[in-house]
Amino acid sequence: MGYPHPSHPKETVVLSKYFGDAAARTHKGWVERGGYEGLKKALGMTPEAIIEELKASGLRGRGGAGFPTGLKWSFMPKGDGKPHYLCCNADESEPGTFKDREIMRWTPHALIEGCAVGCHAIGAETCYIYIRGEFTDPWEVMQQAVAEAYAAGTIGANAMGSGKRIDIVLFRGAGAYICGEETALMNSLEGRRGNPRIKPPFPAAAGLFGMPTTINNVETLAAVPHILNRGAAWYKALCLSNPKSTGTKLFSVCGHVMKPGNFEVTMGYPMKDLIYEMAGGMRPGRTLKAVIPGGSSVPLMNRAEAESALCDYEGIVEKGSMLGSAGFIVMDDSADIVYEVYRLAKFYAHESCAQCTQCREGTAWTTKILERILKGQGKQEDLGLLLELSEQMTGKTICVLSDSCAAPIVSGIQKFRSEFDAYLSRARAPALAGV
């Protein structure tokens, strides 16, 4: 953490060590803090050695899917003579998640360094960093940092004197959640509508501009130089629970907590401590009701599930949800689950790209049903209908946006049925004005 609150003693600060430290934003400041050592080391290593180190570290993608990073990099073809591309996914748009924003605006050079290492490891000369359009501050900071890195010769035609060309190009999105999906991001970068693509082909075979491409999240790339600096064994040892989840992770905690913010802890850290100790717990007189832990696209956890969960990929699955991008939306007993589920459905309906039928029509229809329930005009059969529609919106489309819309709806109904019933039976006053 470090911004806006000082780091909590129980945090393991690696990525967030310099959050709030304005001097770390400059190239000079970054170097003074040990920055670019990882890149220097990487440039002296073979790509294979870097990939092996990453595989050994157990680093997994921090964007949501949790795919092993070293393995992903190893999929890139070798000696194929084609240009390779690295894309950094900085389109952080998942409700509840705001960690990449902090990495970019406080430690832009950490990201640049990670990108440069990534380029070398996958045989790319160009890395595009796709930053969501709304991130005006990170955009400014990153622009400045990239200019400095070029000026210092850290990147460019002869990166750190290695003879290797590494170009980093910033690309500004323009308002589309779905561009955080990797193939949609590539389409957007190519100057198209941000429609997800059918896989196969996978990006490593034919990605950006039809060329072999790797896409990594900001946090993933920012972690890479630390692993090279301190070794895979160090990173792998950062593990409190399941050995498949290693390293530190930034958890964005927001909603009904006293001290919302990003907290960096070792994988496997108890969610209860994260919420109550680091994030300051509930407001006075309030109790925890629910957490949506993966950004909004995953099932809701009830209090018991949340308080017993360990924060890693497996630990949260065990408690009925998913780690996702690790943005915790915390709700206390004042929260109206029906309204929040409706608000999320509305979000997905707004963001659906319009390609797949189930998503285009389903996200809008489920929103209307939830809206009707909130207006006190719901019908008994509405919940069954919502569940049926959700089932048909899951696993049927090109990308998982419609699945993401369904997840909070289904879990909301399953775990907080009485709140829906209260609207349906008119026991609860309408939350929305009827027509």
Binding site: P83, E92, S93, E94, P95, G96, T97, F98, D100, R101, R132, G133, E134, F135, T136, D137, D167, V169, F171, R172, G173, A174, G175, A176, Y177, S188, L189, E190, G191, R192, R193, G194, F209, S252, V253, C254, G255, H256, P260, G261, N262, I292, S296, G327, I329, M331, A335, Y339, E340, R343, L344, F347, H350, E351, C353
Partner: protein
């Protein structure tokens, strides 16, 4: 902001080229960064919006010509992205995040305060003095700093109804 087919947005005099002088130089500087001209579409649209405040049909046609695309193609792309304005907006364009995390933290009250203080009255409308347009926006990605708003390109964190008058005072 959705508009059905057949609706022509905005009123436009004869199109004066956007990409002349510095704007053209900005665009030309982009070309070497991408293997295709088409990839410069989103950046070119940003330049046009920065120059004109919105992206007119004329700007789209101009960009289409510059990037070897067609105006229809460009419009399809423009309308996909919510940050491009296909019609003129108030001098200061305010976007308030109201997605769940911010909603939990009271974004509805911020919206109300903004609509009242700007005089816009309702979302999407431009205030009678032409100064402001306020819209609801989906997650701005600063959920820990609820409620964030974007005024033009200024990202303002942790707003509250109380802070609204002070913030607006900075935008004449």
């Amino acid at each position: 902001m959705s508009a059905g087919p057949g609706v022509t947005h905005g009123t436009e005099e004869a199109h004066q080229p956007v990409f002349v002088g510095a704007a053209r130089e900005k665009l030309d500087a982009l070309f070497p960064k991408f293997p295709t001209k088409q990839a410069c579409l989103l950046p070119a649209l940003w330049i046009a919006q920065q120059e004109r405040g919105w992206i007119s049909g004329g700007s789209m046609a101009e960009i289409a010509t510059l990037l070897d695309l067609t105006p229809a193609y460009v419009r399809g792309v423009v309308t996909f992205y919510t940050m491009y304005h296909t019609h003129p907006v108030g001098r200061h364009f305010i976007q308030v995040c109201t997605t769940s995390p911010c909603h939990l933290c009271g974004s509805d009250d911020v919206v109300k305060a903004l609509l009242k203080e700007t005089g816009c009255g309702e979302l999407g409308a431009t205030s009678p003095d032409g100064r402001f347009t306020v819209i609801e926006v989906e997650c701005l990605g600063a959920c820990g700093f609820a409620t964030p708003i974007l005024v033009n390109d200024d990202f303002i964190e942790s707003t509250s109804p109380e802070r609204v008058p002070g913030i607006l005072a900075g935008y004449r």
